[in-house]
Symmetry: C2
Subunit: 429 residues, 2 copies
């Protein structure tokens, strides 16, 4: 074994970073044995240097992250600060100064993954980011290595723990969205400002990364259709139950149009209770991958948290260190397929639509005509009337999102339709 | 991209081999793009050369596997013939003649993994074998790479599809073992001679491989405690249901004695219906991995079959070819921890024991005394009597297998105990 240690610079020392530093210390011998050389924490860049950080030599702490990544003797930079800047500049600076990079930064990778990969390649360095998607669950490596000889057709997953906690709570207790969110916040599952989670931005970033790797095609955050879950109601869960379904916030990446294009989207959807994703509880994540040869695979585990994310970071750190020692680099960006990303209107799925309608004869005929005119075939209809008001629940066969959108627009114009109470996609069948 | 192709020799062209050859042809462009050079099928060694093999140039077919692996121009040998010999000699010969090896041979790896790894390392070549465990499910790579920075404490899984099909059938239909086996055979899920599956040899080989990788310790097939599932009865399933459990054939690899040793075992066991492994149906496989930092991860998918296994082989092929191009090798054997493997007697778990006893006063007191004398604490007891016969169902707290064995031996000697109807371990709680 080499005795000269590999030097690691840590950017960020919050929940994940402190756990990375802790494990690097407590498991130093194991890491050295697995890498073939010791690894040494050579510097830790933080914003608040005065905070006490247990187990970390105060001499390693710096507020000057730029100077740290420019030192020239750093083998691997671990970036766990998140956000676009200064993370982006620090990572590219690290590559230029001879370091490989392990990052957990989903937002940055979803927005600028191509540029970061290009910078890594230009400097013959590694860029690894298992921790950016679904915490500890090995997903990036299986997709880009284990399934490298297969053709992935679909990735369907629960990739945000906060929203799964909220939806699970709504499902199991009948609570409304706000009540469930309040509990998630109180328990530390939701941040003070939950926007990134509940509006689907976090899941959309992960969908962009997964779609890119799965389909060997550049997919950016802007390419991902995104709908949050703040408007999911207790009534939606009641409707889902009647269908033998529950509701999950899903990230779905698919080949479309006979494989000539891809789509990526995040939205709440009904899925059958018999689908393995339906039983993913609390803040857990799970991702289904469907491929030509391997069929259906599922990966399940904790999707967030300091320790699980640190585990993913350290797995990458071991791989990158091994590559440094052997003078090789791991797989870089694979975007050779360069498939176009189709808009949401091209996505084909099923829909569950609840309408508030006038309780009089002929309404169903009118509504059914609108669906037919837009080429959306109806699977089932259920009418419920009381006190001159009635509700109409329509479940469609598979149709394009554009056709469904046109249908709903036309329905809203009908005098007999008082409102569209909810539209929910039905997936996983 | 390099234009000179990498040359692949295929040993075996059965269900898996023919699928590997097919995908190498139909997905040649994708494989080339992902590897960075084209791959070419340079020879296929078979036993019956006269059989027509669709899509494979007859000029590539040979019965002389030894000459093929000795050619010297082969980059990667893909071994899918199975069994110990001639596979072992062919693989070591391949290393000596400059090739890396991708194998799906669990029996050989479980028996001679250390020697094969040594041969690979001596020749600076790769030995990859994702397909040896749980078919298409990425498990070897996540364990040896993604979790390389974590400490794995337990691997608990369903790693044999045939037995899971049979047990699932018994559970869902109330069928006996023979009836369920007959159906599995008729549907092609069980081989004409099902011994390797139903007696747990196949699962034990996989347990040895998984334990070795998870604990960085050499674990051989002989180290794995093995109990088949041919004696599981419909009555056992009825008992399991009363416990809120089902029965699965589990492979369990654990750290024992405060982490100072490891254990590996395969046997039927009751697991709670709420455990994710309980809902693994049909011939599917699933493996739970518990680690210090990442918590509980689960990997799920088809555990066998030509296409899924071929997907795993091709994933390895891409990785090994990429390593060839960069002049590097991937992770080899990691056995630095070299922990002792403890015998089955040291395993600590819970037990469900059904006794046929005389229906007279004092029997329970006698039985309870025997348990107490052996230090096995009883959790619950249920007595059922009819016609002078009675059954006593005892569920214990956690106890060592040795203590339980001593208890059962002493119980058999009691006049009032007419027989031990079944002993089943209870796992996953």
């Amino acid at each position: 074994m080499r005795t000269r240690p590999l030097k690691v610079a840590l950017l960020g020392c919050g929940v994940v970073g402190s756990e990375v530093a802790r494990i690097m210390t407590t498991h130093a011998d194991d890491l050295a044995a697995r890498i073939g050389a010791p690894v040494e924490l050579a510097g830790v860049a933080v914003r608040r240097p005065s905070r006490v950080r247990e187990g970390i030599d105060p001499a390693l702490i710096t507020t000057d992250a730029t100077a740290l990544v420019k030192r020239g003797d750093i083998d691997v930079v671990v970036e766990v600060i998140g956000g676009i800047e200064p993370a982006r500049t620090l990572i590219t600076t690290a590559f230029e100064h001879g370091a490989s990079v392990v990052s957990a930064n989903k937002a940055l990778l979803a927005q600028d993954g191509a540029a970061l990969h290009a910078a890594a390649e230009a400097n013959s360095k590694d860029l690894y980011y298992e921790a950016a998607v679904a915490g500890a669950i090995p997903l990036i490596r299986p997709l880009r290595e284990s399934l490298a000889g297969d053709k992935v057709n679909r990735v369907l997953g629960i990739v945000n723990g906060t929203t799964n906690f909220i939806l699970d709570k709504m499902d199991s207790t009948g609570a409304g969205y706000q009540e469930a969110l309040d509990e998630a916040t109180a328990l530390g599952y939701a941040e003070a400002d939950p926007t990134a989670d509940v509006e689907g931005f976090d899941a959309a970033a992960k969908a962009a990364i997964l779609a890119g790797i799965a389909f060997h095609t550049r997919v950016r955050l802007d390419d991902v259709y995104r709908e949050g879950m703040t408007e999911v109601t207790a009534a939606d869960f009641a409707s889902a139950k009647e269908m033998g379904c529950t509701i999950k916030l899903l990230a779905i990446c698919e080949r479309a149009g006979d494989g000539a294009s891809v789509t990526a989207r995040v939205h709440p959807a009904m899925i059958p209770l018999t689908h393995p994703l339906a039983s993913v509880r609390g803040a857990y994540n799970a991702v289904f991958v469907e491929s030509d040869a391997s069929g259906q695979l599922m990966f399940y585990g904790p999707g967030a948290g300091g320790s699980p994310t640190a585990s993913a970071v350290l797995g990458d750190l071991v791989a990158v260190c091994r590559n440094r020692l052997s003078g090789a680099t791991g797989p870089g960006e694979s975007a050779y397929a360069a498939l176009p990303v189709s808009p949401m209107g091209d996505v084909v799925t099923r829909y569950h639509i609840s309408l508030d309608v006038a309780d009089k004869p002929g309404v169903l005929a009118q509504v059914a005509t609108v669906f037919a005119e837009h080429g959306v075939s109806i699977d089932t209809v259920r009418q419920q009337g009381k006190d001159g008001e009635a509700s109409l629940v329509v479940v469609t066969h598979r149709a394009s999102d554009a056709a469904l959108g046109g249908t709903v627009e036309a329905l809203r114009k009908l005098d007999t339709v008082r409102g569209v109470a909810s539209i929910m996609r039905v997936e996983g069948e």
